[in-house]
């Protein structure tokens, strides 16, 4: 009985032409870089040799030139937008986790909050931003932070609520048999069970927070953020500069994403082991 099992196992491990783990890692890093370089090369070729108009598509070289020339302003803008996104992400995530905990505990609150959350999820930023800007004054960043918070809240709430419902009957029985207090159950069972779900929610929210904070700047309020500068540069026909700000926005979004990914890795150190086993 064990012999066929053993054969299938060896068959499974040998079937794909396996490369060493080091080669695989190297490839994983080199492959996207190669793709990026090829795309950039084609882009530069289109602009400088084929002669695509600079208005239509500025060359990578000119974008980088602008990026370097306007670095102080770009760094300042990244800081402003980044702060708004971060405040929104933190506040939205905390509210999402707290409300999900309450909704998981008391069924009526879950039923009451479901339509509210569903409508929050479909609020268009373009509609809300001008309203909040006029509510809180043209010189306040609050409207943008609020929009980032709303955008972050939804995925965190939904994922966390789902995570809080993942405890298994045998674990709940065990906690009851141990006469654990509700605080102990939360700390030793419910939160650790929900942790991967919460972290996934935060990771999704991180990108949304940056995008929302940035888009909200298109609708008035104080200048100086990335979104505001992209629209002013484009309006004054400085297309390469506008693209340089776009580049900075992408970098900011990636930074948020990677930071939350790192947080996830840090708090889930031993789960890769679990994933490796089917």
């Amino acid at each position: 009985m064990s012999a066929p099992a053993a054969t299938t196992r060896t068959a499974r491990t040998t079937r794909p032409a396996r490369m060493g783990p080091r080669t695989e890692t190297t490839l994983r890093i080199i492959a996207p870089i190669a793709v990026g370089l090829i795309v950039l090369g084609t882009w530069q070729f289109l602009v400088s040799v084929v002669g695509v108009s600079d208005y239509l598509l500025p060359s990578p070289a000119s974008i980088i030139e602008e990026f370097v020339a306007y670095w102080p302003s770009i760094a300042q803008a990244m800081l402003i937008t980044g702060t708004n996104a971060l405040v929104g992400l933190v506040v939205g995530s905390i509210l999402g986790i707290l409300l999900a905990a309450v909704a998981a505990r008391w069924r009526p609150i879950d039923q009451m909050s479901a339509p509210v959350v569903a409508s929050l999820a479909v609020i268009p930023i373009v509609a809300l931003a001008p309203v909040l800007n006029s509510m809180f004054g043209a010189d306040s960043q609050f409207g943008r932070q609020a929009i980032a918070a709303i955008a972050s809240f939804v995925p965190v709430f939904i994922n966390t609520l789902r995570g809080f419902r993942q405890t298994t009957p045998v674990h709940r029985d065990l906690m009851k048999a141990y006469a654990a207090s509700s605080g102990q159950v939360l700390r030793t069972l419910t939160l650790p069970t929900a942790r991967p779900f919460i972290l996934t929610g935060i990771r999704i929210a991180s990108s949304l927070a940056v995008i929302s904070a940035l888009v909200a700047e298109y609708f008035g309020g104080p200048r100086g953020g990335l979104g505001g500068l992209i629209s002013t540069s484009a309006a004054s026909s400085a297309y390469a500069r506008a693209w340089a700000y776009v580049l900075a926005s992408i970098a900011l979004g990636l930074l948020f994403y990677l930071a939350t990914l790192a947080l996830e890795r840090l708090l889930q150190r031993h789960t890769p082991q679990a994933r490796r086993r089917p």
Binding site: V170, D173, K176, A177, Y178
Partner: protein
């Protein structure tokens, strides 16, 4: 498996005080479940007494309420009528006082905790200081032969090893009563026999009373002082078969040789006949569920 070095039983083996002489007392217990298709009578007029230090198995076909009865004793569910006491207390008080240890069919380990941290869980929840906790965990893991696996995570262990961790965890607080719901149900035959021998040894060492739910006749016969045979729909106790194995009925005398003795097969037959409603069924162990 390693010898139980360094393991010390909780109480110096049972000096029975009148109040503690009875581990579990069940009187006229009914349990009804409301389902969509109406009421289901899971247990009907159950009377059962388990003495301190006694090993009692509950056996019967699916749906006979043996797990339900164990859950009532553990105060995981409430009876519809009747009374249950554990060491003379209400089941709720016994649960709050941590009078029993419990193990389920699935090991139920917390996957984000190491083996050692899983065994330490009840000690941690009940405020045992970390030094004493570490000592106790080392002792328990030694007893179940998993000392080398303390830092592994549950998903790195086989099913049998996970179940051994769960048993170590159920013993963590040296309970006077162990409740086990088919703990070996998912194991292969070889592992199962080994775990049964280990359980016999451990329960003899600790002097704990055990209520053991199973659907395997040989398992019940091998382990128990008495086998409670139950019948389904509604769940009733059909017969309580005392086991008299060997000249010396002490649990420590139950070794693997016992599985091949004539007395063992006689007891298997007795339980089997009780299960099938008293009609004689064959002469030997042939055809018996041999798991």
């Amino acid at each position: 498996m390693s010898e139980p070095q360094g393991f010390r039983p909780a109480q110096p083996a049972a000096v029975p005080t009148p109040a503690a002489a009875t581990a579990v007392e069940v009187r006229g217990v009914d349990k009804r479940f409301e389902t969509r298709s109406g009421q289901v009578q899971a247990l009907d007029a159950i009377d059962l007494t388990v003495a301190a230090g006694e090993f009692v198995s509950l056996i019967g076909p699916s749906g006979c309420g043996k797990s339900t009865l164990m859950r009532l004793i553990a105060d995981l569910d409430d009876p519809s009528s009747g009374t249950l006491t554990v060491f003379g207390k209400s089941t709720r008080q016994a649960r709050l006082d941590q009078e029993y240890g419990i193990a389920f069919q699935s090991a139920g380990l917390l996957p984000w905790r190491t083996v050692a941290a899983n065994v330490a869980l009840p000690l941690e929840l009940h405020g045992v200081a970390s030094g004493a906790r570490a000592n106790r965990v080392a002792e328990l893991l030694d007893m179940v032969g998993l000392a080398d696996f303390a830092d592994r995570y549950p998903d790195q262990l086989s099913g049998g090893m996970q179940q051994r961790v769960a048993i170590a965890r159920s013993l963590a607080e040296q309970p006077r009563l162990l409740l086990m719901d088919e703990p070996f149900g998912a194991l292969d035959e070889m592992t199962r026999e080994k775990m049964q021998s280990d359980l016999v040894r451990i329960s003899a060492e600790t002097g704990a009373a055990v209520v053991f739910v199973t659907h395997s006749i040989p398992e019940a016969v091998f382990l128990s002082d008495r086998v409670v045979v139950m019948s389904p729909r509604p769940g009733r106790i059909r017969e309580i078969v005392p086991m008299r194995l060997g000249a010396d009925a002490k649990r420590a005398a139950r070794t693997d040789e016992l599985r091949e003795e004539r007395a063992f097969f006689d007891m298997v037959t007795a339980v089997r006949e009780a299960l099938h409603g008293g009609a004689p069924v064959g002469t030997g162990p042939r055809g018996v569920e041999t798991r």
